[in-house]
Amino acid sequence: MRATTPRQDLLRGMWNENPVLIQMLGLCPALAVTNSVENSIAMGLATFFVLIGSSLLVSTFKRFVPHEVRISTYILIIATFVTIADMLLEAIVPTVHKALGAFVALIVVNCMILGRQEAFASKRPVGRSLLDAAGTGVGFIIALLMMGAIREVLGAGTFLGISVLGPHFEPWVIMILPPGGFLTLGVILLFLSWIEKRRAVRPGVRDWPEGVASGQKAA
């Protein structure tokens, strides 16, 4: 495994290895709650909080966690932070908490978070793990915001509840319903692979070390 610079640790998760758009992790929340920008932001921030918190704990206590029970330990740590996030959201923004429903609790089984603990936080120093968690968390927020913005603007003609397309726009209701989630992500992926193809001649874009990249899929 080649060493990475702190800058790479931070930036990698944001775009080149974006958890949702490139690694296809954490799809359930990315599709389920992105029917409005507000919900996307709340879900993104909650996931960011859980990711930072659990990366901090996992990489601090990595020496004391026996190898055989590491996954269960990570899940327990994550579940604790999700419980905190759930209660915080309920206290601060009750309406959003209600709109997100069970999906706040389901952050526990977001493969992206467990993936970062297993691939990064359990092997690296605390500072690097925090950088990595911050980068991945921001990448997740970026992906959710892209989905949320496209779906809310097309599906309701609004952005954060403010009308942007004028009164004559007939909303594409399908975009805020479940099929719209699948279609939006599908189209974004098409667009990304088109960009990828156009700049395929440029070398070095995917020049990240093996292992940390961890493109493997969790179930």
Partner: protein
């Protein structure tokens, strides 16, 4: 009473299909839907784990969680994951054939959002034991249905000439979108719930 249970089952299976309407259990939906046979096995393993989960959730909700509501998530995760492990060992001992067919999928499923989602929905809706069980079986059948439909379509797209750009996940997502659109047609089936 019987009618009520059948409605819960049907509603979880087609109207609020876990994968296509609620986006739960997407990882296996994307990962193991390349062949119909694997999709069927994954579906069977899912029905099995969901039923166990429903029993666990009912037990925890009735006897443990009224005293410690803040432990809900942690208790669900720990109890479900360990019970599935135990059941896996029992199956391995009693029926090696069944273990070979379901085996590799069982541990994978445990951390799948559909499982925890079922436990949470069941709690939020206040289902009793029988209602919970029919909800679990309906959800499992729905997952299997979605997986098998997806796998059959994907087997056919292998022979079709798909544009180079759309190959891979983009195609799968767009097919899933169309399937989800088709499943919205079931929405009129239930008027009351």
């Amino acid at each position: 009473m019987m009618g009520e249970l059948i409605w819960i089952l049907l509603s979880a299976m087609v109207v609020n299909n876990f994968t296509l309407a609620l986006f739960l259990g997407l990882c296996p939906f994307m990962g193991v839907s390349a062949r119909v046979e694997t999709a069927l096995r994954m579906g069977a393993a899912n029905i099995f784990v969901l039923t166990i989960t429903s029993l666990c959730a009912w037990f925890l909700n009735s006897f443990v969680l009224p005293y410690t509501p803040y432990l809900r998530l942690i208790a669900f995760i720990v109890v479900i994951a360990s019970l599935v492990q135990i059941v896996e060992m029992v199956i391995k001992k009693l029926s090696p054939t069944l273990f070979r067919q379901l085996g590799i999928y069982l541990p994978l499923i445990t951390t799948n959002c559909a499982i925890l989602g079922l436990a949470i929905f069941q709690t939020n809706r206040g289902y009793d034991l029988l209602e919970g069980l029919s909800f679990a079986i309906g959800a499992g059948l729905g997952l299997t249905l979605a997986l098998v439909l997806m796998a059959s379509i994907r087997e056919n797209t292998e022979l079709a000439s798909v544009p180079e750009l759309a190959k891979g996940m983009a195609l799968v997502l767009i097919i899933a979108g169309s399937l989800s659109l088709a499943f919205m047609g079931f929405a009129g089936l239930l008027s009351a719930s």
